[in-house]
């Protein structure tokens, strides 16, 4: 097409820039969809725990796929710069593919591999594609918080070449293959990352040929500037000021305080995490890249949800964390389950914004995922070795969620991930890949925090094994000691619990052996409520009781709504009950 590189005063220029921008977003979406289609681990293929994006030659992200999860996306956004530091653009050649799982330069733990592929047009580098996915295993102690240093958490691949025009780095592949438990899936996923970048590169080159452009310089500058301006404009609509908020969460061996001071000004939003607890001795520490990712995601959800994610829009949201803090843990701190802490950050950000926006924000939710990580096999379990001789080896990672916080004007979402963007794994798939049987997986009645708007319900999962041997779970759960808080008069959501049906309370974090006839009971938190429960429409309470989301007893106790046997509202009794409680 002619005319795309005409002068800026051409009115059609505006339209052509937009068309190319739309195309770029489409290209990275194609990249992400390819990754999901050819990925191996359940997290990639079922859950969509991936990210994909295109970067300019300076390493600035121009576009990212809508498909993906925020922890990956916003951290991968910063990753490419580290690749370019080690392998300057001038040294990159056609056929090169680079890789790392460095938690500090990638996306926060060893389980995430990031692959970067430079794209060349007529021997000149024009862009880089990056993609990330969570692999099933990286060796070490397996996915769990027990490690005391990152060295114990598995194989560590520094930024290096995965392939060049001469072929793949077989030494690296051999090293990985011999250091991880499910090598077929892991190697398969790495190939999937390489493959999806290839698809992105092909589509980008086709686009550049069609529009007749030799570089992404002009287009990139337009995207970054337009996104930055739109984000700034959104920020400037907020009341200016400094807002401090703190949140206490369970931690591993002791509670943690997450503290943020947010300053909203005309040139953006600055967040300082000073006051936050120091790093933990266990793997719940968060590399700063992951802190930035989830904190900026939380701000963006409230302030500028519709503006595409790229270096321009992210640059307006600036995070700072002191080095002695769990949100900026330094090498070699253990970081395997950094998500359990990091996923709390949107709630922390929303808590700050609540003060600026006068309660027009959601209440706290479960926030961290309540995944079922379980494994079996001869050597992994603390059980009698003759029993384990016949144990079936397996490794499942299935994503699940509690309730989200109530929203202004709306109830929270039940059993739905926030802030994570992952999808669950079907029960039938989990059971086909393991000897596990999920006896129950259903809403947890009364777990949603009461309020004018109710928190979303958590869910209950009961798990047994059909194998004649013990198995193990790796728990990575929070909101057990400190439940999601309600807001503006709303009640807290119900705290989570991890127990055996036979009665024992399990640790909410860490690997534990489950004897072969025991049933694990995972009860996930509900979201916090918003507003006074006595202001909730009695008809909405009656409907919740009808559906079994709220019990009859809780309707009376928490909401002051009295229902008759046929579920109709006893208006007089309700009015009296509510008045007496005000």
């Amino acid at each position: 097409m002619d005319g795309t590189q005409t002068l800026n005063d051409d009115p059609m220029h505006v339209i052509h820039q937009q068309i190319m921008w739309d195309r770029l977003i489409s290209v990275v979406e194609e990249q992400a969809q390819t990754l999901i289609r050819i990925g191996f681990s359940t997290s990639t293929r079922e859950a969509g725990d991936v990210s994909a994006g295109v970067f300019n030659v300076a390493g600035h992200m121009l576009a990212q796929a809508i498909t993906g999860t925020p922890g990956h996306v916003n951290s991968m956004a910063r990753a490419v710069v580290h690749f370019l530091d080690k392998f300057p653009a001038a040294t990159m050649k056609p056929g090169d593919v680079f890789i790392t799982n460095d938690p500090w330069k990638g996306t926060g733990h060893l389980h995430d591999f990031t692959v970067v592929t430079p794209v060349f047009r007529d021997q000149t580098m024009v862009a880089l594609f990056a993609s990330t996915c969570h692999v099933i295993d990286v060796g070490g102690r397996g996915m769990g918080p027990e490690a005391r240093e990152v060295y114990e958490e598995g194989i560590y691949v520094p930024i290096m070449r995965f392939a060049s025009a001469e072929g793949t780095n077989d030494t690296l592949l051999e090293m990985v293959r011999n250091n991880v438990r499910e090598s077929v899936q892991v190697i398969g996923d790495i190939y999937s990352l390489v493959g999806c970048n290839d698809v992105g590169s092909r589509q980008l080159l086709a686009m550049m040929a069609e529009f007749g452009i030799d570089t992404l310089d002009l287009l990139g500058a337009h995207i970054l500037e337009r996104s930055r301006a739109a984000t700034l404009e959104a920020v400037r609509k907020l009341p200016k000021g400094t807002f401090r908020h703190a949140m206490r969460i369970d931690g591993y061996d002791k509670p943690l305080d997450l503290v943020a001071t947010m300053t909203i000004s005309d040139d953006g939003i600055d967040v300082d995490f000073t006051g936050t607890s120091p790093p933990s001795s266990y793997g719940i520490n968060v590399p700063f890249c992951y802190t930035e990712a989830y904190a900026s995601f939380g701000v963006k959800c409230i302030v500028a949800p519709k503006i595409p994610n790229n270096e321009g829009s992210l640059a307006v949201l600036r995070m700072h964390a002191p080095e002695n803090c769990i949100l900026n843990a330094q090498h070699p701190r253990p970081v395997a389950t950094r998500h359990v802490t990091g996923q709390m950050l949107p709630d922390l950000m929303i808590g700050c914004l609540n003060q600026a926006l006068d309660n027009a924000v959601p209440a706290e939710g479960t926030s961290c995922l309540w995944n079922l990580f379980a494994f079996g096999g001869t050597s992994q379990i603390d059980a009698d070795s003759t029993e384990m001789m016949k144990a079936r080896a397996f490794n499942v990672m299935s994503f699940h969620s509690g309730g989200t916080g109530a929203r202004p004007g709306k109830d929270g979402l039940s059993a739905t991930a926030f802030p994570s963007g992952v999808r669950n794994v079907p029960v039938e798939v989990t059971e086909a890949m393991s000897p596990l049987l999920l006896l129950r997986k259903e809403y947890r009645t009364d777990s949603g925090g009461a309020g004018k708007f109710r928190g979303g319900l958590g869910q209950v999962i009961e798990v047994i094994t059909l194998d004649d041997a013990a198995f193990a779970i790796s728990a990575n759960y929070d909101r057990v000691l400190y439940p999601p808080r309600g807001r503006n008069g709303g009640s807290d959501g119900m705290a989570g619990r991890l127990t055996l049906l036979s009665g024992a309370v399990l640790k909410s974090k860490g690997r534990q052996t489950i004897a072969k006839h025991e049933t694990v009971l995972i009860e996930m938190p509900g979201g916090g409520g918003l507003g006074n429960p006595l202001d909730r429409d009695p008809a909405a309470v009656a409907e919740d009781v009808h559906l079994g989301m709220v019990s009859l007893a809780a309707a009376a106790k928490d909401y002051g709504v009295v229902l008759r046997a046929d579920n109709s509202i006893d208006i007089e009794a309700t009015t009296a009950a509510r008045q007496s409680r005000r």
Binding site: D22, C301, G421, V427, E431
Partner: protein, 690 residues
Amino acid sequence: MTSARLAVDIGGTFTDFALQVGAKRFSRKVLTTPQAPEQGVLAGIEMILADAALKPIDLGLIIHGTTLATNAIIERKGAKTALLATAGHRDSIEMAYEHRFEQYDIFMDKPAPLVPRHLRLQVPERIDATGRIHRPLDEKALADLVPVLRNEGITSVAIGYLHSYANPVHEIRTRDILKQLAPDIAVTMSSEVCPEMREYERWSTACANAYVQPVMDRYLKLLEDTLTERGFTCPIFLITSAGGLTTVAIARRFPIRLVESGPAGGAILANHIALERSHDHIVSFDMGGTTAKICLIDDGQPHFSRSFEVARQYRFLKGSGIPIRIPVIEMVEIGAGGGSIASVDNLLRIQVGPASAGSEPGPACYGRGGLNGTVTDANVMLGRIQVDRFAGGKMQLDPKASASALAGTVGDRLKLDATTAALGVTEVVEENMANAARVHAVERGRELSNRIMIAFGGAAPIHATRLAEKLNISTVIVPAGAGVGSAFGFLLAPIAYEVVRTRYVHLNDSFDIAGLNALRAEMRAEATAVVRLGAPTEPLTEGWTANMRYRGQGHEITVTLPDGDFDTDSVATLEKIFITDYEQQFGRRIPNLDVEVLSWSLRLATVGAPITLCPPAPADHAAEPADHVEVIDPPTGKFERIALYNRSSLAPGSTIAGPALIVEDETTTLVTKSFTARIDGFGAVVMTRT
């Protein structure tokens, strides 16, 4: 029995009729009568029979497609339905994927399930992943649920038990008990309607089938009775979402297979047009008032898939609808049509659709009170739609209304004049369609360039050449009289039935030749029984496919299997087919990995309508323009004077150099500068990039 065959396509606004009598074709459009759809159908049939001077007895076949099932789901007007689910798992259909399909929108809501929680009843039973019974079906507890069904006034029940695709015994027993205790309640088994792994999708499909079944059952029975009363003796067939014909009996059992039959008709038509011209690889492009549908067709056969979402509430976002797993013709549908509304977002980018002005009030230029600028308004501004020639001149358009609407919704905010704003709108909608086509192709691992585009539907011919340029396609065909394309497509559909079975096979260690051949025989018998109801003696073709993947991968690719029973060479053959297809789709193979098969499917069909090859047109001769009009030139953004032709006066062999407009009653074809048009032997406009 005569050769007269009638197709009836009930759409949301119009019901289309297409009648073929020998070589003659008739068509009609009447308004749909949503309250009693059979009335519109009967009225239209009477009119079109009168047009052709035929009596009811003269019809040899009626082919019927309808959006009634889809509308019942979208409008939530289905039967009061209960789900009997494995105890402890009833919330699966509401939890869905436990995720937010719109990540940044904290206010998003998930689609409400068709069966609310209090009607999702728990049945004590459990089968494990290998198909073994872990907990026997508690028949007493099941019987105790019958009074609950009665009290709630349930007329239809879906049964969804875990792993029933591996062992349906509990679902079957449950159905039998219900049939005994409550014979009037309709029953859908998830293992029958969708025998595939993944409980959310399977149960959603079962619930949707149960939800529409009484509605469709009543309608189909009424239609049959009424037609019989009026003296129609011919058989009635229904068209499925997979583009095959099926009997009323099967349609009443699996009405969910009837959703989205209209677009399937369009794909069949496009395929037929391509075959008449000996083209193997095509992209069909159907653009109407609200949506555009793009479908890739290879080797004379549309591709089939098994996943689909109905009633997407959130624009066209994946995950915002109810997943249905049935055989469908694979296509992508996006909110881009003539009525799609243009706006500007807070990044100052033009957005088009998915909201549509529909037919009421319609685009601003209709002068019926529409205030939003639409794609049609943009085409008016650009001179591509000639205001005094729209709909054969029966409807005068108001270009001033277009200009002021586009200024209001786009131009003022972007400081663009009305023409540039209009050009922006058409460029964006074309880019949206091109992007949807590209993502669709990459998801399926197919190439877009080197295909022939077949464009039909009211809005497609105006955007087809520009879309073709974006997709690097060099030939575009606009068939004659494509206004009722889907209905004409129905007339070309084969009688067909698809059967799928989940059975895991690892090529290297569990390829049981005898067992698989037995499975195939069983599938063949099931499909044959259904197809023979409508085609007692006709020759049939078998299309076998398998969903295969590298062991441990999450998603499968569908590969075509060779005909004939498996033998000792089959493992090697299957592996080779898979690796070849995989490499073609994803660019590289993965060394040292086993290959596995998840499911097997068979499409059994009659041989499609015979193809008459398009005769060569007489020698080329330049057509005479009817007029010259001012139309925008996109690269420069300036108006230029171009030739206008009336399609009705273009004979085969006529050639037209772009830029030009070809106008007919239902649509306008834009021949851009880079194309030359020629009328072929069947009267289609064939545009070739020069």
